[in-house]
Amino acid sequence: MNKIKKRAYAGTLESSDAFIEIEPIEEDEIRIELQSSVEEMYGDDIRDLIAKVIKEMDISYISVRVQDKGALDYVIKARLQAAILRANDDKKIKWDKL
């Protein structure tokens, strides 16, 4: 599919969670903007993780904004997947692919 249809978000700003907003963009680009309370230690890992999830879901035009409050990897992954599924109104979720 490589594009998302609309703006969507998932998560919360609370401790140990992440608030993720995604938006479609015109350029063929994956734009990641991260603000994390653990930037010093894990900033790059989180960015890698986000890029990986986006790639796994076959998206190549997307802007992602993440407010991370020290969420664990699988929380970030789940929040991002949820946002992307919401952005595409996916009713038939292929759970084995996630």
Binding site: Y9, T12, L13, E14, S15, F19, S37, Q67, K69
Partner: protein, 335 residues
């Protein structure tokens, strides 16, 4: 966070709960902001410990009881407010507050637009200002004198027309911004159209829709300002610093034109602040020269939009004809 904390939201129709929020804000030294549509509160047992509200695209009245600060309650309140705003389709959000809260709201994904001398600040939740500046940059025109006018024109009079004509004469190009809010008697759409029609004979002017970055005093929140005598000054400061540091550089604006204000003390003070703030040689961006243009008079009194509204109420169309252009007259007759 204590597990006995519970959150809930409600809207302005819930008078009993709204009253509780008002009392809570008053106990911690804040006024109750007018016109909030949606509220979020946190309670511990039956005690209100934090709250926040949404008015259009502005978050207002966000507060945590002093002894419950540092627990992250604000993050839960903000998450809920953002959810409410997004579910209403409002995606551009703003916070006006005192600058000691900048870091707090940065932790919620908000970005600073302007901090005026550590007295008042404005933040937004995305990159809208940068996008808006890009749009403005496309409207840039060459010239030595790039003039600007900001007007509400409620509605457009011969006085406004004269101001635009004089400013256009003194400028290589003139950018005219129309304040974008619908709290005036005339709706934005109508004010905008009447201005466009009323200046269509002037060749070197662009009429811009105002944006969230031209802050109307009708939408400027004041509940957190302790010294009520300074409300107008702080509003002027914030509005003018955003104009000078963000909008003006995008368009290369060098001058701002304004009509002299003989009647209204508030506007007169605003004009004085304008000179001080836009012409200050020590700002972050180039100073902008403020040029006052003598208001045009008709039968011994300056033409004003408030006079037009007065005459319209008593339907004195023959009097109106003398102080509004034909384009506005046509609109008023068909109202």
């Amino acid at each position: 966070m204590d597990s006995s904390v519970s959150f809930s939201d409600f809207d302005f129709t819930n008078a009993r709960r709204v009253k509780r929020v008002e009392k809570f804000l008053n106990t911690i030294g804040l006024d109750f902001p007018s016109s909030i549509e949606n509220f979020v509160i946190a309670k511990d047992g039956n005690e209100l410990i934090a709250c926040g509200g949404l008015d259009g695209k502005v978050f207002k009245g966000i507060a945590v009881a002093p002894r419950r600060r540092g627990e992250g309650l604000i993050l839960s309140i903000m998450t809920r407010l953002i959810n409410i705003a997004y579910s209403k389709g409002i995606k551009d959000l703003f916070i006006f507050s005192t600058p000691n809260n900048i870091e707090l709201f940065e932790g919620c994904g908000f970005k600073l637009i302007e901090n005026c001398d550590n007295e008042i600040m404005l933040m937004e939740n995305n990159d809208n200002l940068a996008n808006y500046k890009n749009i403005l940059t496309k409207e840039r025109r060459d010239g030595n004198v790039i003039g600007s006018i900001v007007m509400n024109a409620n509605p457009f009079t011969l006085g406004h027309q004269y101001l635009v004509e004089q400013a256009a004469k003194k400028s290589d190009w003139l950018h005219l911004f129309v304040v974008k809010e619908d709290l005036s008697e005339f709706k934005f759409k109508d004010r905008f159209e009447l201005i466009k029609k009323g200046v269509s004979h002037i060749s070197n002017v662009t009429v811009h829709e105002g944006s969230d970055y031209i802050i109307s005093n009708a939408t400027f929140p004041t509940y957190f300002i302790k010294d009520k005598g300074r409300i107008n000054e702080l509003h002027a400061k914030l509005d003018l610093m955003v104009f000078r540091n963000h909008l003006a550089p995008a368009l290369g604006i060098t001058h701002r034109f304004v009509g002299t204000e003989p009647y209204c003390v508030v506007t007169n003070n605003y004009n004085k602040n304008m000179k001080k703030i836009l012409e200050d040689p020590d700002g972050k961006s180039n100073p902008i020269e403020v040029v006052e243009i003598q208001r045009v008079e008709k039968e011994g009194r300056a033409i004003s939009a408030s006079r037009v509204r007065e005459l319209l109420r008593v339907k004195k169309f023959d009097e109106l004809e003398k102080i509004v252009p034909a384009t506005t007259m046509k609109f008023l007759k068909n109202m």
